[in-house]
C-alpha cells in the first residue's frame, strides 16, 4: 500500500509534505487524480449510454404515469377555489370567530356581495357552490340562488346614479372617465371589424386615488369584458357592481377633492358626490338573508372559513369519514359514514380473494410443475386462456352463471340441492365479487407459484421420504416452505390488484360487494369531486405501500420470486 503511494507521489507530488498528505488521503490513480474520480470518469460514458437506452421509457413513464399520479395526488390537498373565488370574503372571515354563534358582520357581507357578483359574471360561483357542497349540503343551491339575485342588489345604486344624471348611463362616459387618455385614443382609432386586437384597457393615472373601489371594480369589469367575453368595451355598459363601488367611494370621499380631476365627468362626479348622502342604501346582510336565510346560518360561514386556506386536509378527513368540526376534526354523523366501511370491506374481501386464489391455485401450480412437459403445456394453456379473453366478457359470463335464474342456481335446483323458491343469492353481493374476482385473478397466483415450484426439484420430496417422512410431512416440512416465495409473490400480486379492482365489483358487486375503487371512480366521473377521489386514491396507495413495507419486514422482499 505504502509502496504504491510512494510511487504515485514520486511522480506527481514534488514535496515531502504533499507525499504525507496523500498517504493519509484517498487512493490516487497513476496521473495523481483521486482513484474514485478517475473511475467515475471512466464509467461516465457507460452510464450515459445506459441512461440513453432507458430514457425513452423513463420519459414515457414520467409523462404518462408519474406526472398524472402526482397531479391527482396534489388535488387531494389543493383547495384554491375558495380563496380565489371569494378573495375579499375569505380575507375578512379570517378574523371572524365561529364560536361566537353569530354570523359575521356587515363588511363580510359586503365583501361577499362583491365576490359573488364577480364570480357570477365569470360563472364561477356554481363551481364554488359544488365544491363547498361536498362539505355542507345545501351550499350549492345557496350560491346558485345568490348568484342569480346579486345583480338586483347592485342595481339599487345603478338606478339612482342613472336617475341623478344621464351621464352615468353611457358606457363610453365611463370609459373616458376611468380609462387613460392614451387608451381612449387607441380605442377611438381601433376598427372592431379589423383583425387587430382590441387595445388593452388602462386605468387613468391617479384615478385610483380618488376612486379606489370603483377603479378596482371597473378594471375587473374591463378586463373580464375584453379577455373573457371578447366584447367591445366601447359598446358595453359597466356592471352594476361598478355603481355600487362608486357609491362607496363617493360616500367616503370629500366632494371638493374632485376639483383636481381634469377630465370629462369630473363635474358629474362632484354632483354625484354631493347627492349620495341622500341615496337609498342597501343592507347587504339583510339582502342576502332575504335571498336565502341560510346566510344567517353560522354553519355556512364556518364552512367557508374552514375551507379558506389554499391547502386543506378536508378531503382526507372526508375520506376517512371525518369532517372539520368546531373543535377540529371530528367523526361524521353515523348515517354519513361510508368510506371506512368501504376501505375495511376492500381489505377483507381482497384478503378473502387472495386466500381463495392460494387454495385454488396451489394444487394447479403443483400439477403444472410436476406433470410431464406435454400435459403441463396443455394445462398451462388452460390457465392462460382467461388472459386471452376480455375481462368484461369474463365478468359478464359470471353474471350469467351466478344470477338468480342463472346456470349455477338452475343446476342446483335441478339436482334438488336448493328449493326453487330458495335460490342462492350469488350475485350483486360480496359472494359474487369474491367468486368472479378469484377466477379473474387466479392466473396471477398460479404463474408465480408455478415458476417457483418448477425450480424445486422432486429430489427433495424423495429425500424427505427416504428419511422416513410421510407424504404429508414431506410436503409440509420440505416442499411447502420452499414454495412460500411463490405464495408471497402471488399474494402480493393478487392482493394489490384486487385492492384496486374496479370493473368486476362494479358489474357483479351490487351495493354490498363494491370496493373503494368504485367510490373513487364515482367521484372522478360522476360527482366530479376529484379532490375526494384523489384523497381516497392516496389513502389506497399509502395502504398498499404500507402493506408492502410490512411484507418486506415480515417475510422479506428477497423471498418474493417470480421465477428462477
Amino acid at each position: 500500500m505504502s509502496d504504491v503511494n510512494d510511487a504515485t507521489t514520486a511522480k506527481t507530488a514534488p514535496t515531502p509534505d504533499d507525499g504525507l498528505k496523500i498517504a493519509d488521503g484517498p487512493v490516487l490513480a497513476a496521473d495523481g487524480t483521486p482513484l474514485k474520480k478517475s473511475l467515475s470518469r471512466a464509467l461516465r460514458v457507460q452510464k450515459l449510454r445506459a441512461l440513453a437506452l432507458v430514457a425513452p421509457l423513463l420519459i414515457f413513464v414520467l409523462v404518462t404515469f408519474i406526472a398524472p399520479i402526482a397531479d391527482m395526488l396534489f388535488r387531494s390537498v389543493e383547495n384554491e377555489i375558495v380563496s380565489e373565488t371569494l378573495p375579499r370574503t375569505t380575507d375578512l372571515l379570517a378574523d371572524w370567530d365561529a364560536e361566537s354563534g353569530t354570523p359575521p358582520g356587515a363588511p363580510v357581507f359586503k365583501a361577499l356581495f362583491k365576490d359573488i357578483f364577480e364570480a357570477q359574471e365569470a360563472k364561477l360561483h356554481t363551481r364554488l357552490g359544488s365544491r363547498l357542497n361536498y362539505e355542507l349540503t345545501g351550499v350549492s343551491s345557496l350560491f346558485r340562488k345568490s348568484g342569480r339575485k346579486v345583480e338586483d342588489m347592485a342595481e339599487v345604486y345603478q338606478d339612482q346614479f342613472e336617475k341623478l344624471d344621464r351621464f352615468w348611463k353611457k358606457g363610453e362616459n365611463w370609459n373616458t372617465l376611468m380609462g387613460s387618455d392614451a387608451w381612449n385614443a387607441d380605442m377611438a382609432g381601433w376598427d372592431p371589424k379589423s383583425d387587430d386586437k382590441q387595445p388593452k384597457f388602462e386605468l387613468r393615472d391617479g384615478i385610483d386615488v380618488f376612486l379606489p373601489a370603483t377603479s378596482e371594480s371597473f378594471a375587473n369589469y374591463a378586463k373580464f369584458t375584453q379577455v373573457e367575453d371578447e366584447d367591445n368595451l366601447a359598446k358595453k355598459d359597466p356592471w352594476a357592481l361598478v355603481y355600487s363601488s362608486l357609491y362607496d367611494d363617493l360616500q367616503r370621499a370629500e366632494p371638493v377633492t374632485f376639483a383636481g380631476l381634469k377630465v370629462a365627468g369630473a363635474a358629474e362626479l362632484s354632483e354625484a358626490a354631493s347627492a349620495v348622502a341622500d341615496f337609498e342604501t342597501v343592507n347587504f346582510a339583510e339582502a342576502f338573508t332575504k335571498i336565502d336565510k341560510d346566510w344567517q346560518d353560522v354553519e355556512v360561514w364556518r364552512t367557508i372559513q374552514a375551507y379558506s386556506p389554499r391547502y386543506t386536509n378536508g378531503y382526507f378527513l372526508n375520506a376517512i369519514d371525518m369532517q372539520k368540526g368546531a373543535d377540529g376534526p371530528e367523526m361524521r354523523p353515523e348515517n354519513q359514514q361510508i368510506y371506512l366501511t368501504l376501505f375495511w370491506r376492500t381489505m377483507v374481501m381482497s384478503i378473502v380473494i387472495t386466500v381463495s386464489c392460494i387454495l385454488l391455485g396451489y394444487p394447479v401450480a403443483w400439477l403444472l410443475a410436476n406433470l410431464p412437459a406435454r400435459t403441463a403445456n396443455l394445462l398451462m394453456i388452460l390457465v392462460l386462456l382467461p388472459f386471452w379473453t376480455s375481462l368484461l366478457v369474463r365478468t359478464s359470463a359470471w353474471k350469467v352463471m351466478l344470477q338468480h335464474q342463472g346456470v349455477v342456481n338452475e343446476t342446483l335446483v335441478w339436482l334438488g340441492i336448493v328449493a326453487t323458491d330458495d335460490r342462492l343469492a350469488l350475485i350483486n353481493n360480496q359472494t359474487g365479487t369474491i367468486i368472479a374476482m378469484t377466477h379473474i385473478l387466479l392466473p396471477f397466483m398460479i404463474l408465480p407459484l408455478y415458476s417457483v415450484m418448477a425450480t424445486v426439484p422432486q429430489t427433495y420430496l424423495r429425500a424427505a421420504k427416504s428419511l422416513g417422512a410421510t407424504n404429508w410431512t414431506a410436503f409440509w416440512r420440505v416442499y411447502f416452505p420452499q414454495s412460500v416465495p411463490g405464495i408471497g409473490a402471488g399474494s402480493i400480486l393478487v392482493f394489490i390488484l384486487s385492492i384496486g379492482y374496479y370493473i368486476t365489483p362494479e358489474i357483479v358487486g351490487g351495493t354490498s360487494g363494491t370496493f373503494i375503487s368504485n367510490r373513487i371512480a364515482y367521484h372522478i366521473s360522476s360527482s366530479l369531486n376529484w379532490g375526494l377521489g384523489a384523497a381516497l386514491g392516496a389513502i389506497l396507495l399509502a395502504a398498499v405501500l404500507l402493506l408492502y413495507y410490512a411484507y418486506d419486514k415480515i417475510v422479506g422482499i428477497d423471498n418474493v420470486k417470480l421465477g428462477g
Binding site: 421420504k465 428419511l467 422416513g468 417422512a469
Partner: protein, 366 residues
C-alpha cells in the same frame, strides 16, 4: 477390502423387470443378491438401468414385474418412508430452508425421537464426517464437499441397515472425489452397513466396492469383485468399460490345453485364453490390458507367438510411459510401461516385437 461377502441375500432382486412406457424394458430380468454389510456398486453407462434399480429399491419406482426382498421380506408394496433405507442423492438434496442440524434432525424428528436424543445423534453424526461445527449453517453456505458430507451423515443418522447412494460424488472435483471415496468406504466399513452405490465412474467402483455389478442394456453384464472384474472380464463390453483395453479382431483356429490360437484379420497368429469362445472357426475379439504387453521376449513362454509393432507415438506421463503402436492394423494399440531406470524409451518410427502371456489375453465374444 478383502472382506468375505456373506451372500445371505439381505437385498434380493428376483426376476425384476421395469418398463416406463409399456414398450421397452429399462431393466430386463434382474437377479441380484446383496449380502449384509456388503458394499455393492452398480456401474454402467447412463441409460443402462442402474439408477432405475436403485430407485426401485428405494421405493420411488415400482417394479413392473418381479420381487424385491429386503431382509427376506418383499418390499414392493411398502411405501418409501417405511422402508428405513438411507439414501444419498446426486445433488445431495439437503433441504435449503433448514440448517445443517435441522436437516440431520429431520429423519429423527419424523421418527418421534425425543429432543435430547435427537441432539446427541445429530452431534455424533456430524462429528463422524468432521462437520461438527457447521450445525448452524445453511446448506448454501457450505462447499460441495461439505454438503456431500452432510448428505452422507443425514442418510446415516437414523442408523439404517441399508444405504443407497446415487452418484453422490458426481458433482465434486477430482481431488475431493478421490478423498471422499475413501471416507465413504471407511465409514461404511466402520458402521457395518450395507451400501448400494450407483456410479458411472469405474475408478470409483473399483476402489470402493466389495462387488461391482456392471450394467448395460438393462442387464447385469458381470457381477464380480473389482480385481476379478478388471482381470477377468466376462465379455467385450465389460472389458471395454472397465479400464483401458486393447482389442484385436480375429478367428479362432484351434483350442488346445486351455489356450486358443487366434488368427488375426491380417493373418498373424496369437495365443489367447478362451473365455467366450468354445470351438475353432468362431469370430472373436481378443482383449489385452496395456500393462500386460511385453517387449522382453525372454519373459514369454517357450513357443509363444509374437507380433511386429510400429511405434507411432511415445507419451511421457511421469509415473508411466504410454506408447501408441500399430499392431495388426490397429493404430490404437496402447502399451503402458513403468518409468523404471532400465525401461526403454521407444522412438516413433521404430519397429519392435511384442508378445504376452496367453492367460493375459482373453478371447471374448466378437
Amino acid at each position: 477390502m478383502s472382506k468375505t461377502v456373506t451372500d445371505d441375500g439381505f437385498v434380493v432382486f428376483d426376476r425384476v423387470q421395469k418398463s416406463y412406457d409399456g414398450e421397452t424394458l429399462v431393466v430386463k430380468d434382474l437377479n441380484l443378491s446383496i449380502g449384509k454389510g456388503e458394499f455393492l456398486t452398480m456401474l454402467g453407462p447412463s441409460g443402462s438401468g442402474k439408477t432405475t434399480c436403485l430407485m426401485m429399491l428405494a421405493g420411488f419406482e415400482t417394479a413392473t414385474h418381479g420381487d424385491i426382498l429386503l431382509d427376506g421380506k418383499p418390499i414392493n408394496n411398502i411405501s418409501p418412508h417405511k422402508r428405513g433405507i438411507g439414501m444419498v442423492f446426486q445433488n445431495y438434496a439437503l433441504f435449503p430452508h433448514m440448517t445443517i442440524a435441522e436437516n440431520l434432525a429431520f429423519p429423527l424428528e419424523v421418527r418421534k425421537m425425543s429432543k435430547s436424543d435427537r441432539e446427541a445423534k445429530v452431534a455424533r453424526a456430524l462429528d463422524m464426517v468432521q462437520m461438527g461445527s457447521f450445525g448452524g449453517r445453511r446448506p448454501a453456505q457450505l462447499s460441495g464437499g461439505q454438503q456431500q458430507r452432510v448428505a452422507l451423515s443425514r442418510a446415516l443418522v437414523f442408523e439404517p441397515d441399508l444405504v443407497l447412494m446415487d452418484e453422490p460424488l458426481g458433482a465434486l472435483d477430482k481431488q475431493l472425489r478421490e478423498h471422499m471415496q475413501f471416507e465413504i468406504k471407511h465409514i461404511a466399513d466402520n458402521l457395518g452397513i450395507t451400501v448400494v452405490y450407483v456410479t458411472h465412474d469405474q475408478t470409483e467402483a473399483l476402489t470402493m466396492s466389495d462387488r461391482v455389478a456392471v450394467f448395460e442394456d438393462g442387464r447385469i453384464q458381470q457381477l464380480a469383485p473389482p480385481d476379478q472384474l478388471y482381470e477377468e472380464p466376462q465379455n467385450s463390453f465389460v472389458a471395454q468399460f472397465i479400464g483401458e483395453n486393447n482389442t484385436l479382431q480375429g478367428v479362432v483356429k484351434e483350442i488346445n490345453k486351455g489356450i486358443a490360437l487366434v488368427q488375426l484379420d491380417d493373418g498373424s497368429l496369437i495365443d489367447a485364453k478362451p473365455v467366450n469362445v468354445s470351438k475353432p472357426g468362431e469370430r472373436t475379439q481378443v482383449s489385452i490390458r496395456p500393462e500386460r504387453v511385453e517387449f522382453d521376449m525372454s519373459r514369454l513362454n517357450e513357443g509363444a507367438h509374437t507380433l511386429k509393432a510400429e511405434v507411432l507415438e511415445f507419451i511421457y506421463m511421469g509415473d508411466i510411459f504410454r506408447t501408441r503402436l500399430r499392431v495388426a492394423g490397429n493404430d490404437n494399440f496402447i502399451v503402458k510401461t513403468r518409468n523404471a531406470p532400465d525401461q526403454v524409451r521407444l522412438q516413433p518410427g521404430q519397429t519392435v516385437e511384442i508378445g504376452w502371456q496367453a492367460e493375459d489375453c482373453r478371447a471374448l465374444d466378437a
